[in-house]
Symmetry: C2
Subunit: 475 residues, 2 copies
Amino acid sequence: MKKEIQAITDMEVDFTQWYTDIVKKADLADYSTVKGCVILRPYGYAIWELIKAELDRRFKDTGHENVYMPMFIPESLLQKEKDHVEGFAPEVAWVTHGGATRLTEKLCVRPTSETLFCEHYASIIQSYRDLPKLYNQWCSVVRWEKTTRPFLRTTEFLWQEGHTAHATREEATEETIRMLNVYIDVCKNALSIPVISGQKTEKEKFAGAVDTYTIESLMKNGYALQSGTSHYFGDGFAKAFDITFTDENNKLQYVHQTSWGMSTRIIGALIMVHGDNSGLVLPPAVAPIQVVVVPIASHKEGVAEKAAELANRLKSVARVKIDDSDKKPGWKFSEYEMKGVPIRLEIGPRDIEENTVVLARRDNGEKITVPMDALEAKVTELLEDISKNLYESAQKNLAEKTYTARDLDEYAEIAASKNGFIKAMWCGDEACEISLKEKFATTSRCMPFCGEKIGDTCVCCKKPAQKLVYWGKAY
Amino acid sequence: MKKEIQAITDMEVDFTQWYTDIVKKADLADYSTVKGCVILRPYGYAIWELIKAELDRRFKDTGHENVYMPMFIPESLLQKEKDHVEGFAPEVAWVTHGGATRLTEKLCVRPTSETLFCEHYASIIQSYRDLPKLYNQWCSVVRWEKTTRPFLRTTEFLWQEGHTAHATREEATEETIRMLNVYIDVCKNALSIPVISGQKTEKEKFAGAVDTYTIESLMKNGYALQSGTSHYFGDGFAKAFDITFTDENNKLQYVHQTSWGMSTRIIGALIMVHGDNSGLVLPPAVAPIQVVVVPIASHKEGVAEKAAELANRLKSVARVKIDDSDKKPGWKFSEYEMKGVPIRLEIGPRDIEENTVVLARRDNGEKITVPMDALEAKVTELLEDISKNLYESAQKNLAEKTYTARDLDEYAEIAASKNGFIKAMWCGDEACEISLKEKFATTSRCMPFCGEKIGDTCVCCKKPAQKLVYWGKAY
């Protein structure tokens, strides 16, 4: 099908421009005059609503409750945990005036809400009977970024932040991993995105965390994207905020805490993991429109009626839109391809005669003719197959773009010629991380849970290796 | 049932304290150290999620789409519409620094988002084919309030704000009324809250609006609460922001706009319209727990199992919680009464023997014995009846507390001895509004659509009357 209107830059020509074109032409987001902030347009926001529903259901199934904390953090509160304030203070927005009055204490707009949750926990937790506290919050946060790109890095972004408090270290670490697994599950089963999961290095971990766990996805250009993180805090925040409880033996103890978050950034991953040169390609679970019905020669008798009837029937199994506007079918084809709609249903006079419809798949371009009777069953089957196929394609891309470097020469050669994950052993020394970043613009993405041993020495300094690390260029 | 733990102040003794006690003891909200901001706790937030779902479904059914705009408004953008900035500038929070850097232009945290929507509309609307634009946004907004009370008035609050643009004045006014009717519908059918609806006076209308329509509910103490508003803007904002489109005759026209909002304030109405001296009373549609199952003598054989079985069965028709903790039944009864759970199901050894359960209604205290076989049907019926009964009781309170004043003496007598709506004729002069406010602390709440004529002269100045107005003390 000829592209009639919506032509975008090919990803092979200019990946960055391709990305920006999709954001704009699939009506996902628009720039605003507020520096670094974007507008989530209806189609982009609808995708976020679906992602949100997938996450929220799983949070509730694992016993979490939603709350809402203030968006402001007084300066003195932000400063209570030393590592945390050092990490965030340089990039927060400060409110200094309310109306015409200068505030006695300035307030930052939350960059993340650990400090607010801690203060609340200190006030509501007294006994072991009050534990665990499993809270989550849906909100926007602000981080004053110098360079921004829609979804990937914006001054304000939407996310969820889970914050939990537990009686023991064991329960808290279990929770940290449980929520990382929720993210892996959503990525795999709702977003068709395979990820590498594991631990962040000391250098890359969250400000104030003991351990940070991460899921990393790989874009079609071989860049990594941190797609969700889960942090174990130990009792560091508890000590800073004096969050104690009386245990079963009537002894005062500090709680152990976690936090975990996923943001609208994941929409950037959706674009760059599945998209192609015709635009967005959406996995069915988060596609606002799963099937678009396009009548062909709709002025012919019975076509418009039949199209409406089929669209109506399909509503029981899918999110359906009928486009009965007077635009040309070719224009409509391009538009819904740009928007990544998983299935297009074409229905014209000949189809009606033969009691069939044509279903076109967005993921692989296949067109099949289906008897009208079998429509619901076939659409259900196709949607499942599309999810699976997208996952497998992404998995293939990830596997193909994962390289192994045994020494610095190999590392240098890969980094110079290819983008992707580079698996290499590491001694554990931050100096080597910094060196690999300075030389090759690659950062440590994660230390996978079951890291194979692919050598005995650090890829950088040749001292004894401690860990396998996935390295890569990243957004 | 004796109150074992949760005693609160009686509303007849101190209505304000009664309200605060419920907010606190039903775990709806908690104070934070951030001045004027509250924490929405899990139970309070769950109520908001249900209200949100009721509204959102109706917004989508009427063709609206959700978007997300930045939370910051540059000073110059806020200033574009003169009346609007005059209304809001005195009460906004100003961001002046990002990290350590002073901003070249200060940003306010949105008190409402007309200006952002207008700027976006100016950029995306070109032709009559782009109209109408029917957008809504769920977010929090900030207004720097001097005195605050949970839900009723807080510096930051959650709400939705609809913003629409239309080709004609007629379509825009239709939209304004349509969305007011959506609010009336949600209040009546989801919240069991009757409202008086109509127009605001010039003095009370929204900053920048041509007309503001309102729904006003009446609390048990006779105070009015503005519960939702819908504004018709004409083309005032369109001219200030240059939002034009080419019409079907290829002529450039300004759009006509509306906006409408409902906030977490409505939770304050829920408390004060339905609550009693045992705590919150929730209408079933927005009750996070609709049925609480309390096993009696649960150590006895078969009780815990039967309670779990019944709770499980009920999940098909209601949001159910089983409380199998080791607290005493009486303590549990008080706790769920405090939380306003519509139905309590009691199940003990004798019930099991007789194959019955006891259902206790929160709204009127009735207890009925029901055969286990009929459980789902009876619960469904009761939930409906509770909604209806709550609405009727609230309607009765509203009717009883609505008074009529034909002259200033009558008005003065009512205002001095009673709280409630005072229906009285008005000349249309703001001086009379100010006078009634200064003398009696009553403000004009609304001019109902079909205002009867109860006299020929203004209740205040005796000049010829223009309109019937509902006056009252208000939150």
